[in-house]
Symmetry: C2
Subunit: 553 residues, 2 copies
């Protein structure tokens, strides 16, 4: 049982801020501004919701704080920052059909059938989370597999990585897809027996996407509400939203305007059009007491490994003719980077394959000298890197924005797709760090769960939820506990130009923190993975409290 | 010489609000909440920028106000509210080529030639304001007329009423318009000698509009800045923006976020799509200390008289075959009205011709009983009304949102278009009032100047800037000074659900007011028309002050 305080948000924020709050008797942990671990037993919060003072056991407490909270000796850690997620994607995952826990095609078909029966009014059945690898299917699913579950209404389901979609015959009919349809640039219609199989990869997804009914504003608002609830529950106090659309942004603003935005969102516009439409000719100011800012733009340079859209230097080991797809020409990529940078937007590039990472680095090398200001280039995922390119992350000062849980979910697939030789540069956290690069950690929610504790555990152990493989997959790439925490706090903030206000609990920073049961600097990876926040505080207010009697989510 | 204080806005708004301000020794005028004229000599403003108290000569003054302003016996009136304008249209008019002061085709051609020479970097020459009636041309201008001025770059110029566009050959080429092009529904490509003449009416304008380069965000921001400057200078403290696009809205928000929004904007989304994308499933809250709110949606039911797009019951007197165009079917209009109303948005319908007004009233009559809440239906312009329909404005509680200066600009054209018999219901302010309808007054800027004093003068005199015709055009439709002021203050606020915060200077209302040289309750129409605000105050801050030595604009 959990108790969610989000509904009380408007009230809380509207109430006059109390003056000093003392959170005392805690096992407090934070990194300082240089990344050194620091411990404390009390935290004083000022009337603006910022940290006023960290107290040692021997330090004098304020005499009459307006509000006092007894931590009862529990551990207090900084609010965790997800450096790469999709806020509305999470929200819609919570609203729509979620297949991410299905373990076979038959299980998925049963879930689809049940959801359709439960939601007779929905014009389309829309969902996500399927993964033919997890099912052990050995092939993509087909429209016929879906027709068997729901023949009479369009069904359209995104793959777990968001890089492929699966349609039934009714959806393809609604989208006017026929055997004569052509794959668009940067996409692929899967063909079986001379006609579309029902699976659409990358840019080809838009063929069906464009036919599905658009969500209404109230759907977006509901999705944002659900996403915030989930993030608060999981201890995420800030999330970088990677690829914000104008519709997403309007939902963020509606929530902010109504004082219903609790979780901080660092927004990156979905390509240049959304960036410019939303923020204009420069990043927005921080809005709603540092709860929302559009800081930059997200560009897509390739797809994902699962759908073989990731752009590799050499062909896939399990599909010899294919190397994946670059989604931008060199000129397109550089033009977009210059356009955004000239207006002081931060640029982050989705690059999964080693060819995409090399090209992103090349582009950054080409442009860095001629662009003004501090750029803080980012590469999202940086999953498969040619070892020869690793040092370039440091020399070009590129932030590697990586998602530890991807490694544990992908490892078997990565082995198949890449073969043994290319694994050296795959999910190479420690190598990047050793080379001097900064790493921000995230979840890629809804591709994975937003749960950052799973990420912390994977980062230090290279093991999955079942603790597999024993000793970790390529364990030499695991990072220290300090580095893992840094990636989910201090460097995640730095990666979004936010280190002057969040990411640590040093005086002057926003008082975003969690109360947890176990000290993550001492607990086993398995204990860390099972950690559930008892309380989530943002800006000096408690937004979430787990009920004492509860059994977690 | 004028001094504009808008640049100091960020500073002003960021400064801690002072406590009480006393504006004393004024000839103060306001309507009270019931519309009765009230006089005062002192005004006390509280720390939130609201009116705290109105003082009579004999009333005791606050002992130690934080700020004291001596009105030196000058007149203080409520800030004027423009119930119908186009904020970004005004801004772009100020940035782009403005032909509204040209008196002949030759003058216009010279202005176009000069503007093109002055702006060699502009890919297209874009502008507005032409009026072949004012030129006495007796026909629409043609592409050849434009080619004579600028042959080598696309030129695209909107007519003064925004209901027609004039392209040169280069613009038509860029837009791929040929003799084979078809007029779209609700629009007309003017044909001369079997091919497009260069003039595109109503929906046909989009053929060329869609080919012109889109303005950048920085252009929008600049336009908004210029529009605000102009409005402050003219004494407009609030404007209803009729047909806000998502791009307009984003510019408003950027200004608000940077504390650079001075003038209050009551926004009506341009049709349902913009409304829903911007505000979601209900009107926005008041934002930025009551400076911005999306309250409703603007629907277009017909075009304008000048371009013969206004939808008439009987054919135009000067074009016997034509009755103008309805832009929505009965079902479309009602569907949009229901969709917006169910989400509590206010609905306002552009209706100029008598057929359009009758249809708008029919639709309102059809729907009122079944929709929840207080709807405050509005009809924009309500220019030509079948006398049989006038009483329906009152019985259906429809606000007539009218623009007095249109009457003076249009009268000769209206006589030609309508013939003598139909003039009885044209610009029929007094008849509407006598029937019991409420009238909000505005400018329709940039179709006319935003200057509300010209509107006040026209409202009470039915004469134009030259005082013509002597005694007024159909003077029986002139309104009293109180009604004119009411239309530009109290009822303009009521028309946007804003009467609880602006429109009068009663205690509790925002302290939006002007200092002027002459008492508009005593001055002649001609004196009123020439009035220029000496100071413009919004929310208790002075944003504009005319320099004492100045000669006005």
């Amino acid at each position: 049982m959990t108790r969610l305080l989000l509904t009380a948000l408007a009230l809380t924020l509207a109430a006059p801020a109390h003056a000093d709050t003392l959170v005392d008797n805690v096992n407090g942990i934070t990194l300082d501004k240089d990344g050194k671990l620091l411990r404390f037993t009390g935290l004083v919060i000022d009337k603006d919701g910022k940290v006023k003072e960290l107290l040692d056991r021997k330090d004098k407490r304020p005499e009459r704080p307006d509000f006092k909270e007894d931590g009862k000796g529990r551990t207090l850690i900084p609010g965790l920052i997800d450096a790469h997620g999709h806020v509305m994607g999470l929200g819609f995952q919570l609203m729509l059909l979620d297949l991410s826990e299905t373990n076979s095609l038959a299980e998925a078909q049963a879930a689809i059938r049940k959801y359709a029966a439960d939601n007779p009014e929905m014009p389309w059945i829309i969902g996500s989370g399927w993964n033919q690898e997890r099912w052990g299917l050995g092939r993509f699913p087909t429209a016929a597999d879906l027709d068997a579950a729901v023949p009479n209404r369009p069904v359209w389901l995104e793959r777990v990585d968001g890089h492929a979609g699966w349609a039934n015959t009714a959806a393809m009919t609604a989208a006017k897809v026929t055997a004569a349809s052509k794959s668009p640039d940067g996409g692929r219609i899967e063909i079986v027996g001379g006609k579309p199989s029902g699976v659409f990869v990358d840019a080809a997804m838009s063929l069906v996407d464009s036919a599905k009914p658009k969500p209404l504003a109230r759907d977006l608002d509901r999705a944002l509400y659900l996403a915030q609830q989930k993030l608060l529950e999981q201890g995420v106090t800030t999330i970088a939203d990677m690829g914000t659309s104008i519709l997403d942004w309007q939902a963020f603003r509606r929530a902010g305007d109504k004082k219903q935005l609790a979780v901080r969102i660092l927004s990156y516009g979905g390509d240049i059009d959304n960036m410019a439409m939303i923020a204009g000719s420069e990043p927005t100011p921080w809005l709603y007491d540092d709860r929302l800012r559009m800081v930059g733009v997200k560009l897509y340079l390739d797809g994902a490994l699962g759908s073989r859209g990731a752009w590799l230097k050499a062909p896939y080991s399990d599909a010899p003719g294919q190397t994946g797809l670059p989604l931008l020409t060199p000129a397109q990529l550089r033009n977009k980077m210059v356009r955004a940078s000239m207006d002081k937007f931060q640029v982050t590039i989705h690059a999964i394959g080693d060819a995409a990472n090399a090209e992103a680095l090349d582009a950054i090398a080409d442009l860095t000298a001629d662009l003004p200001g501090e750029r803080r280039w980012r590469i999202e995922h940086a999953q498969v890197i040619d070892p020869a390119d690793i040092a370039r992350f440091a020399s070009l000062k590129v932030i590697a924005s990586m998602q530890p849980v991807h490694q544990t979910s992908d490892r078997l697939m990565a082995e198949a797709r890449l073969g043994p030789d290319r694994l050296k540069g795959a999910y190479a956290w420690r190598s990047l760090q050793a080379a001097g690069a900064r790493i921000a950690f995230g979840s890629d929610v809804p591709v994975e769960s937003a749960n950052p504790f799973a990420g912390l555990a994977a980062a230090i152990s290279r093991t999955d939820a079942a603790g597999q493989p024993f000793g970790g997959w390529r364990p030499e790439e695991a990072v220290s506990r300090e580095t893992a925490l840094d990636g989910f706090t201090r460097t995640a903030a730095y990666g979004g130009f936010a280190e002057d206000r969040i990411g640590t609990l040093m005086p002057g920073m926003r008082a975003d923190f969690l109360i947890v049961e176990t000290d993550p600097m001492l607990a086993s990876p398995d204990e860390i993975r099972r950690m559930i926040p008892l309380e989530t505080w943002i800006g000096g207010y408690r937004y979430y409290k787990k009920e004492a009697s509860g059994g977690g989510r």
